[in-house]
Symmetry: C2
Amino acid sequence: MNAPTALSHLAPDVHQRATPDELIAELQQRFGAQCSTALVVREQHGRDESVYEVPPPAAVVFAQSTQDVADAVKLAAKYKVPVIPFGVGSSLEGHLLAVQGGISIDVSRMNEVLAINAEDLTVTVQPGVTRKAVNEAVKSEGLFFPIDPGADASIGGMTATRASGTNAVRYGTMRENVLALEVVTAQGEVIRTGTRAKKSSAGYDLTRLMVGSEGTLGVITEVTLKLYPLPEAISAATCSFPSIEAAVRTVIQVIQLGVPIARCELIDHNTVRMVNTHSKLGLREENMLLMEFHGSPASVKEQAETVQEIATDFGGNAFEWADTPEERTRLWTARHNAYFAAIQSKPGCRAISTDTCVPISRLADCLLDSVSEADAAGLPYFLVGHVGDGNFHFGYLIDPTKPEEHTLAEELNHKLVARALSLEGTCTGEHGVGLHKMDFLLTEAGTGAVNMMRTIKRALDPDNIMNPGKIFSL
Amino acid sequence: MNAPTALSHLAPDVHQRATPDELIAELQQRFGAQCSTALVVREQHGRDESVYEVPPPAAVVFAQSTQDVADAVKLAAKYKVPVIPFGVGSSLEGHLLAVQGGISIDVSRMNEVLAINAEDLTVTVQPGVTRKAVNEAVKSEGLFFPIDPGADASIGGMTATRASGTNAVRYGTMRENVLALEVVTAQGEVIRTGTRAKKSSAGYDLTRLMVGSEGTLGVITEVTLKLYPLPEAISAATCSFPSIEAAVRTVIQVIQLGVPIARCELIDHNTVRMVNTHSKLGLREENMLLMEFHGSPASVKEQAETVQEIATDFGGNAFEWADTPEERTRLWTARHNAYFAAIQSKPGCRAISTDTCVPISRLADCLLDSVSEADAAGLPYFLVGHVGDGNFHFGYLIDPTKPEEHTLAEELNHKLVARALSLEGTCTGEHGVGLHKMDFLLTEAGTGAVNMMRTIKRALDPDNIMNPGKIFSL
């Protein structure tokens, strides 16, 4: 961890609470070798992909069952000590950091696929199952789970952050694709939200309340997900554009025409260059759309023709098709590695990621002005985006030994968020608030709405032990 | 109102709270002619399509703006008197009944379409706008709003009950189609939930918490909805089947194959007969599927051929197409009038509606046994269903002067719900809990989850003034 201390970004109530020795002793008694206080283990659970540096949790419990989670939470509740659920550690926003001390509950060993209901297009998994493992498990049934945030994140973590990614433009986000949950509450009680019915009007939508609650309302111990039949035909394509604007105008028209495109990603020319270097791809180093079409062969052909026509109108060229699974995997792996490709392009750097999302008609306004600002600032960056959803990410590459670069990156981020909010968008399309966007959330949602969130949090977790200090200050 | 008093079905805490004269005086001073205490007006706002008989509210405020709603709620809060939002009165579950007294806030005059953002496929409306009015307003932009619960319900009411209906199999429910809300809280404060961005991870999903909260957490004063491009091609078809089972097996296979069918409705042979009598239709009096396909001409053709093939395999016959808008309107109007057709088939009767929804693989198990039970009981009924979603409605037709018929209908309903829950389904797919399904909700969700709902309710509405006595007892 060589990032500069960034606690100044945190809410005023951030403070390390003491973890009593009695709690550690009780945890060790209950969990034996499943409970670790080794520094290396604690440090591994005390960081994520964010830039913050915070002392690690006091202990890590490796839960193997819902009962383990419930017992760990009950013990923590007894001593009013924070608990922080941990999946694979791929959060970008500081969700996993023990800003108020406490214990980490690692659910990665809860990695069983509990039930595949192929006939109903549902699967029920433990929270430590990763998205790739879900797909591996259901592939032989001719099914897939589309939500793909890039990282091979855990389903628990994806649920907690309301993740989405490349396929969301067609299949929605975790919001639309989680049917039901099992959750351990702040009191250590096990509840179930939702059923396997496709729709329901049975009381408050606790499922959706938990999705995106970032561990602050409970620990997710089981998730029932929607699945989809593997498309009969899949075709991926890249198309190069003379400008980002041309690429973005193409996307806007594709979406507005209602083309059911499955993936629609922008990669700017800088980032294509980084990806080429990292993944040895030989892509044309121009601004690029990377797209995928799903459906029957006829429908895929129809979609592709429509998009190609629109792209050509905007000066798009070099439409290249990737029809074999191998070619597609190569392209999408390269896309998913863009973050790492960028990090490696500037040795020793860290990335400050943005995550704004705006209505599709505002995408060009939001994106182009922010590109100009970033270019003018002179800070290297990568730019990728789930542009079909109006969502994109700048990653400003900062030298962590130079506070002025960090400041500059945050200034660019602030300007971008302000612009997105003025265009009726959101500060976070898919990464969550965590530590990084608490001020943005307040600006976006307003004091009244954030106070409503706080009221719910206080009611469900009166001792503020569930991942405290995230989303909002209390 | 000639239904038997059914307060015995209500929660134990049902009681009429007093409405102080001072509140009425303050309301009259603030609202003038917009506030009515006339018995006829109060009675009109004290009933819905449910079978319950309850004294009417003490006054009705006809709100014309968010400020009107906020002021009415603030006055009610001052005297700790219940407020019940009222749209068009089409609830089936007693949502609108003043079981604890109080005032009705009628939002039907808040019927402006505030903004059509055709480029973003969104529309923002006041809560009194009905679904047909939304469609009228956006038609010229080549767009439509798919959610169709049958009745021309208000968007506010549809949001509050998490409504869905015939198009949900393809387009989702209000859960998936509300982007953002303006809500007046129990304190009379105006908050906004969500933005016009298509997705967001910005804090708790207050939008989804409000969707389906049945007026118990706030009054909805503005709704931003998703829209869809009018399909290039639409085709409707009816197909008759030798048995309900044959029809249901066809549906299951259509859904499992991933055919993107837009509407897929079952109407049993009894109900077809009632509809024929009511709407002069001349449909074959057999169990029937009524379907609709949306898409490009090629895709509609492809879908229709697939479905026709499956139907034929199960003995379906007399596939009849309705390709003109007039024919389609005639068919769907008949479908929507099934409820009234049934009511008129037994003069003076009332209907006890069921609303179970199960995973599609369980549909046959759930439906067929319930049909046998209803047939054996000898009570006339209608049976219609959004079977593509696993959701269907029996309407047991009871003579309100015969308590034994009411009891028999409720017994059938109880058996059906128990069956649906044992098959991992829900007691209510789209009507909401209201007064009628509070016990079912407890069985379905469990005490832990319902207690979480209660905790949220108490925290956000400590004086229990927002539509009290609905969903759960406090």
